[in-house]
Symmetry: C2
Subunit: 358 residues, 2 copies
Amino acid sequence: MDQIFSFQHLYQFTESVFIQMGCSITDAATATNALLSADIRGIDSHGVARLSGYVRLWEAKRINTTPNIRIVHETPSTAVIDGDAGLGLVVAPYAMQVAIDKAKNVGTGWVSVKNSNHFGIAGYHAMMALQHDIIGMAMTNASALVAPTFSIEKMLGTNPIAVAIPANEQPAFVADFATTTAANGKLEILQRKNADTPDGWVQDKDGNTTNDANILKKQGALLPLGSDREHGSHKGYALGSIVDIFSAVLSGASYGPWAPPFPAYIAMPENQPGQGLGHFFGAMRVDAFRPADEFKSHMDNWISRFRNAKPAPGYDKVLIPGDPEREMSAIRMSEGIPLLQSVVDDLTQVGVKFGVSL
Amino acid sequence: MDQIFSFQHLYQFTESVFIQMGCSITDAATATNALLSADIRGIDSHGVARLSGYVRLWEAKRINTTPNIRIVHETPSTAVIDGDAGLGLVVAPYAMQVAIDKAKNVGTGWVSVKNSNHFGIAGYHAMMALQHDIIGMAMTNASALVAPTFSIEKMLGTNPIAVAIPANEQPAFVADFATTTAANGKLEILQRKNADTPDGWVQDKDGNTTNDANILKKQGALLPLGSDREHGSHKGYALGSIVDIFSAVLSGASYGPWAPPFPAYIAMPENQPGQGLGHFFGAMRVDAFRPADEFKSHMDNWISRFRNAKPAPGYDKVLIPGDPEREMSAIRMSEGIPLLQSVVDDLTQVGVKFGVSL
């Protein structure tokens, strides 16, 4: 039922849409690369399927396609950046580059961003550091879908953390995960299949465990990584909180339940304590700690030792963070990107709006 | 059955033991403060109950009580420290102070440590930053007790992460957690009670879920935060891995399954790829991002908003990371620290060895 599109085909379409929305050619290319990196890596919930959502935010004047992205405060190793309500897909690569430049100067760079929007997948931005022999980190807050331990109120987004660490002969270590038991995209897949969730993913409006994949529409909530107190949900709640504070309280963005929602039809929460969404980026030059060749050869050793750890019966091998996405990238770059018919229809409508044919 | 001791009483005893082991008076005080912070905060598995374990490591010549702790490489925002096989309880505060000093100079400081030993609770070191209006972070690798997702081999320690964030009128946000579903100390409590573990804490030697609290002695393993793949154990595995890499691969300590074991009777793993245990510390001056008063008043707002999130039926309130430990500290500073009879007996033996009366 899926239709297959080449990366090149989707690239040209998406770039044209961003240009029609008013982005400069450079910004359109930056945003397209960031957005489609999700489709390439198999994180379909965060790729081109979201393009119409960005368009609706732009129509609602919550995205500015000609932003004046600027550093508003800095020290040798830190900066705060005002994204001027730009596309997160453009603001984030700018901010990550500032972190990388600071790492080149003083060993590490740490950048907190306010007044931004959704930035696609965190892993893409973290991975920008790898080619410089720099460890990259990226995180972002997001609209509140997650109930803290012991709460029935949604207070945090799925607040992902990405960490990319270079190796030499081995492919890089790339972790990129929501700080919830399951990402929202996994719920959406179950909704389309009319299937139940496993235990421990979501709770209903009274805080009871449920298997209803549509429970978020009924005042339910996603659960922090760990699912419940007995299995460490207070740790997932703490991780999501740290992402929220680093991304939004450090920068001056809106935090916690005030984070701006992605769907343009949902009203902004009242009494905003800051501006827009927040992100946080880190860059650590490995040779600020030990010679890069030495570090990378030990990373090779680390990765091959873990990949060859004794697997449990029924499993071939132990995976290194980033393995599944890298394998998917190789497949999709050669065989193309499958899109659901509903996504194709949605993109076709976007194309009609801007006079761009899918 | 527990015996109650005042903080002061345990302090004098512990400090005397460290001095008898050869520590300088300054180092003995530093180590005692770090060690007993666990007892005060209610993390009994990491406090004075471990003193005899440190003694045995010293007897096995794996702890050096007169270390030459030194910076072996640095940039304006980073350092690598060689702990010279010192007590982690002494090496870690030294390294955290270096991170704080670098943050004062260039906004942030990041210190990776090799050739160290167990450092007590991570939260104590992270909290050193708070009085300077600095966000503190601390993590450490540890001997392998945890099986990665899809593995039956123990490859990672419980590898804790601590993050301490200052507020103004509210108490600080202090997260401090093992990157496993349950910390090893929780297993030890169940072992003493002859009780089963909940599902999802441990697996047996074939990778099957089990409720046997003694399974680690039968080639079983602790599970990463998330318990199994369906509930996000690959995320807990990634977190534990990041702690291992930042602590040990960046510094040149021994990583993964090679991390030195805490019990002195367990032989060191062969073919060590580095020296000793590794730690990682971070310090971020909040005014390197925005004025400290502004940041701290927004942290007050963040904390009170979350503490007043709507609780689930049966719960009074939503907790902020650090609340339980702070409440315990207040109780134990006034009412004393309860020790199990087995711990009292163990400490009495230590005292006899050094001519120090408990």
